[in-house]
């Protein structure tokens, strides 16, 4: 019976494979990049909660590490969107 760690691992593998399929299947910069980076955010969040084991840690620490993920990925999307629009 798979537990939470196994389910997270399977989800990470699935998202890693899906990530590689996005560029050929969705070659539109705004949407394709948004999806790529959203998948990375979901993978990062699962690592933070289940592998780094911050699910039960104080919200401050969970929030700080999650904020790092969101800020870096959102910045990447905004920069790519700016290039695509200009």
């Amino acid at each position: 019976m798979p537990d939470r760690l196994d389910i997270t691992w399977i989800a990470l593998i699935g998202l890693a494979l899906a990530t590689l399929l996005i560029p050929p299947l969705l070659p539109r910069p705004l949407l394709g990049n948004a999806l790529l980076l959203a998948f990375a955010a979901v993978k990062g969040r699962r690592i933070v909660l289940d592998f780094l084991d911050l699910r039960m840690a104080p919200a401050l620490w969970r929030g700080l590490v999650s904020a790092w993920i969101v800020i870096v990925l959102l910045f990447a999307w905004l920069a790519s969107a700016a290039v695509a629009v200009i």
């Binding site: 691992w9 890693a16 990375a40």
Partner: protein, 191 residues
Amino acid sequence: MSATDCEQRGTGWGILEDLPGDPMIWVLIFSELAVFGLFLGAFIVTHAIHPAMFASGQASLDSGLAGLNTIVLVTSGWAAARGTAAARTGSKRASRRWLLSAMALGGLFIALKLVEYAGEIGRGIGLETSTFFTLYFLLTGFHFLHVGLGIMILAVVCRRAEPAGVETGTAFWHMVDLVWIVMFPILYLVW
């Protein structure tokens, strides 16, 4: 509040004590995340300034091999998390087995990354080929060194397989995993 009161309440690390493993590893983890965040920020800004150069650079990279390395590293992270879970239940033998698997997969990540570097160098690509490749080699090289350091840390904590030590070592390993997960699409795929 006296010093004795402080000692009775904890080890003096304050709110860092609520994190898994030794609080000192978390000082290192937050410092590393800040450094990688700045590095990635510099890459993103330079990408926006030179989109054509970065598109050409990305087209020369082997995203399939890097994607395979993502699978290798997250599987290693899963093995390390299993090693922590086993150490917490007092099963040292199982913990060691999982940690050795995590280290072996970390070694495979390094081997695949070396194959990738060898392919790029074989095609005449180097640090000075373009700004893209300067940043690419610096970022992935810095991460590569962290994978090597992470394997050494896991080897140290694997010997005794005590819960606190294993939590400390695997926390660093998961940080290395997390950085790769964020770095991979930004370097190889976002266009």
